[in-house]
Symmetry: C2
Subunit: 636 residues, 2 copies
């Protein structure tokens, strides 16, 4: 099989070679003629010239009378001129100025007489208060140059110029072929091993944003003949083809071979991550892109390699990406062999723009949904340290970043509800949460990287929550601890307790699979403490090293029977209808720096915490003790 | 009639009152449920929670074998562990990890034996190389909060979470009613007095950009009963109504009265220019906006008063406008009584961002098409001086402004062709031309406001073009004069010469109507010179004060018989099929400062001037003498 081993070609080089090949082969937009009214957003094929002038007749610019200016020459306050009825015409704004006239006198500057004559007290200058023919557009003038996007105002200008139809560049029709034996159409009830085919829906929406017309073909099994037939059909019907999945060098990869048979594989394997196994192929002037199956890889490949193809089709320049400087909140390591694209969340905290890297898994499509920006780590660089100043390509308007409430710290599902209520309270505000555990949150506040941090750290010595830790890390104060909720921690176990777990001591029993939270999370601190207190050897607990980052993800492992028990909060257990062995009631507070306290996003947050709506949401979640959320528990 | 006299209420106050009334009356978006695949760009009605986890089964993250980690414990290079056939399962990336297994070992880390057993040389950690259930999304988690725009990636996340349908906010249906006796549907052949109805097409395109659904009703005559019937029908069928024209206090204004009869007029008359006669009305929770008839007024009123209504419908915050500081190239005067909105073109010249005000006529729709930004002159301010630093709201991305070639100076239709060729040569480049005459161009170069200036100034003493003026205004040099074309100037007269004009001397004859160019234009300088030379009293020429700014607009007056003669270039006469009495061949050059000379836009311009394509365009225009365009004639 050809191209079994992937190349590792530089992205810019691969893209530029590919575009050159495509344009050399004659790829360019055809044209079509559309009614001007339906041309908004389309691109002109050629320069468009005016058929008629606008205005197309001399029009009165005022309410008044149209006259021949010469008839009024010599008029003054003392020697007024009186015009006979046939020497003037009453006109409203927009009315044509009669052929015999060449000026308009405003209604307030004339005196009407009963016999139909009017008197004027000043001479009219020729063409005063007359909108000349062609004031806006002269017939024959260029209204729009070639290859320009038609705006709403341009539609008006074209119609004013008597242009009713306009030749525009055709949108490229892009066939999307999803392939794979395990791929199924979207469903709420997939079987294990089924992979839900949502890439074509993502790609279609992206293509529409880029002024292309997607056509999604039915899912094709991993069989050479089927792939070949689908590709032939799409090539016959479309201008461009995306062949999704089957682009790695795995055992069922027939994409490269079939593209080679029906056309040419220009490149297979590009030095980017994610997206390395992309295939750049073509059949004559028609590009065929082999897109990796993981959604994040696919999105990156489309943005980096297919958007430029569409730009080349339209012979248009890509909009320059908008970049900002930001401070990395965590270190990001990268391989030397690739240029890596990392999605980040952004938030402005105390004047500093902070970038928090999101989950880099190729399958984690939510990372793209949550991303505010994209960090590129160049090939040959090992990554960036925490605190490094990096350049971020913005995925949302910079002005919105000022209204993002940044929350870095301990996870609780109530944070999602707070985010929802915050945006409902003020639609200009958004919340960005990163779950790094209570300790991580305290450190983020200390480094000035977050507005708020959820925290629930038990001090073993005092049995009190949070205070001891804050005293230790903020010896000079400068922060507030704001009450949020009390919540019940306990062991989540499977419905009906099939393993007969009665407490933490049972977790060391043979056959019991535990699932833990990550180090530094308050829940992990609690579990470590409980084990120590009860003299339990954590090495004897199977799965104690298996770390999840949220209460929900611990609960879901138990619900799907890949684990038997995990420590977590009652609301998470309730969501999955798990049994629950309560261990303690703990205080979940928000740590807020004095600097952040006065910001509009934090002011609105406090209002939300104090609202009835918040109490209702907590009641629905369940397992919370709600006293006075939003009040300052202690000022340090 | 109620509200005959317009109020002059502050824009912000009027808008805020109106929005409060509308929301108090219950205006808000309804909801509808749509398939997720069709939800791109829609706004979520409520928070959306995941139905299933993604991945929804433990999936292999590598090609290799799935094992129970415990079976491999103790394996080392020296004490390998061999697994029986029933102790492992071959898996590809994405395959489910079988229930009995909890880890994946990569294919490169195992040795296969012929008997079906495999040997491993290191222990597998539980859950290594396994994508845990819920790595991306946990069932029950919030995928999207309320009132969020659904992006392509969000479509993927929703489908991954088993969400196939989503409740979104309904788009407001906006009825547009064009009114007026003189209004006609778009045509290339209007009769005098016909006003082409293109506002509804502009408004429809704007509304679609704002996520509203326009419905345009047939044109309604200026009759109370007709307007009332149309308004009743639109109110029954739509969520919002735009009643176009008929909103001034003129004699045929029934809009206010009919809105008052069917609902309530909240405000009539707002302290903005253009757009003063806008009517803010409503019927219950349905807004009815009376929109002035002039297109520029209408666009401003929609942007300032109707876009906020749509934002309120969606309970969403308007995107913050992006503003820049720029230097005004000309003074702008404004009335004290209004807040005025002035369209400007922008260009970066020598690091300075220059704003050139466009024609402020309410009927000049091209000004909106050409505008790069909007200047607001606050109420109570008389305007700004030339050279003032002002704040401009951007209408196009700032990055594009770096690639705008600014041309301020003498007009020639060839400049439009150059603009077209420049954009075709480099799609990232645009050209912005302002016609202020040759003298204005020279001054703009001197003030550093333009890259290039078209100039054709005849020095009476030497009979040479341009040089003497440049020596006078640039005594220290620093500019280049670049050859463009020779062009034939002459008297444009009506086809067949019905008035028997044989030369300039005939222009003083009774009944001959002349149309002139503006002072400071090279053509005016030429005409003044010719009259002086031949001893002609320009006061005796009827219409010598009638000034147009371009050759085309002079030609169009003659073609439409509002003038008999005008001085201009042959190509303009040719466009309108006019007769032409040649007077002289003149040199039309481009003046370019040394600073601008090395910029990419000017480099590309020079290439365009030297191209065959430029010669072909000139040939099509006609009347030009083309020698070596693009070569430096003289360096000063």
């Amino acid at each position: 099989m050809a191209f079994q081993f992937l190349t590792n070609i530089d992205l810019d080089e691969a893209r530029s070679n590919y575009l050159t090949k495509l344009t050399d082969n004659g790829m360019r937009a055809g044209t079509e003629t559309v009614p001007v009214q339906e041309a908004a957003g389309r691109i002109t094929a050629h320069a468009v010239y005016a058929h008629i002038s606008a205005p197309h007749y001399p029009a009165s610019a005022m309410d008044g009378i149209a006259v021949l200016a010469k008839d009024t020459f010599g008029a003054t306050e003392t020697t007024p001129v009186t015009l006979a009825e046939d020497q003037y015409t009453v006109v409203d704004t927009g009315d044509p100025v009669p052929e015999a006239c060449d000026a308009v006198i405003m209604v307030e500057d004339i005196v009407n007489h009963e016999d139909g004559t009017v008197t004027v007290y000043a001479p009219a200058a020729p063409w005063q208060h007359v909108r000349q023919i062609g004031e806006d557009i002269c017939a024959g003038e260029m209204v729009l140059p070639s290859h320009m996007r038609i705006t709403p105002a341009a539609i008006g200008a074209l119609l004013a110029a008597g242009v009713l139809q306009v030749e525009v560049l055709k949108k490229p029709v892009v066939g999307i072929i999803p392939t794979g034996d395990e791929i199924v159409a979207p469903t709420a009830d997939p079987k294990p091993g089924d992979i839900i085919e949502f890439n074509s829906s993502i790609f279609s929406a992206m293509l529409r944003e880029w002024d292309a017309e997607p056509v999604t073909y039915p899912i094709v099994k991993d069989k050479k003949a089927d792939i070949r037939a689908a590709l032939e059909k799409a090539l016959a019907q479309c201008d461009m083809v995306l062949l999704n999945a089957g682009s790695s060098a795995g055992r069922e990869d027939f994409s490269t071979e079939m593209i080679g048979e029906l056309g040419e594989v220009v490149t297979h394997g590009i030095a980017i991550k994610p997206g390395k196994p992309a295939i750049l192929g073509l059949a004559g002037a028609k590009p065929i892109l082999g897109v990796p199956g993981y959604p994040v890889s696919g999105i990156i490949v489309l943005e980096q390699l297919f958007k430029p193809v569409i730009d080349a089709w339209y012979a248009s320049a890509a909009a320059k990406p908008v970049t900002v400087k930001a401070t990395l909140s965590r270190a990001v390591l990268s391989g030397l062999k690739y240029r890596e694209f990392v999605r980040v969340r952004l938030g402005r905290v105390g004047g500093k723009l902070m970038a928090s890297p999101l989950n880099r898994g190729s399958g984690v499509v939510t990372s793209f949904m949550k991303a505010d920006g994209l960090l590129e780590i160049p090939q040959g660089l090992e990554g960036y340290e925490a605190g490094a100043e990096v350049e971020i390509t913005l995925l949302r308007p910079e002005s919105e970043l000022d209204n993002v409430l940044v929350a870095i710290g301990s996870h609780d599902p109530l944070l999602d509800e707070v985010a929802d209520l915050l945006h409902l309270a003020d639609p200009s505000m958004f919340m960005s949460s990163t779950h790094v555990g209570s300790m991580g949150g305290i450190m983020a506040v200390k480094r000035g990287e977050t507005h708020i941090a959820g925290t629930h750290l038990l001090d073993e010595a005092t049995g009190r929550y949070n205070t001891a830790f804050i005293n230790r890390y903020f010896p000079d104060g400068g922060v507030r601890l704001v009450e949020c909720v009390g919540r019940t921690q306990g062991l989540m176990i499977q419905k009906g307790n099939p393993r007969g777990i009665t407490g933490i001591a049972d977790l060391t029993k043979d056959g019991i699979r535990y699932v833990n939270r990550q180090k530094g999370s308050g829940t992990r601190v609690l579990m470590d403490y409980l084990c120590k207190r009860d003299g339990i050897d954590t090495d004897a607990i199977y799965g104690y090293d298996r770390e999840e980052f949220t209460h929900m993800s611990v609960a879901v492992q138990i619900a799907s029977d890949t684990a038997d028990a995990g420590m977590g909060i009652w609301s998470a257990a309730k969501t999955y209808d798990l049994d629950f062995l309560p261990v303690c009631m703990e205080q979940y507070d928000l740590l807020i720096s004095d600097e952040a306290w006065e910001t509009p996003v934090v002011r609105t947050l406090i209002e939300v915490l104090k609202s009835d709506a918040f109490r209702e949401r907590l009641e629905a979640l369940g397992g919370y003790e709600v006293k006075n959320p939003g009040t300052v528990r202690e000022k340090f």
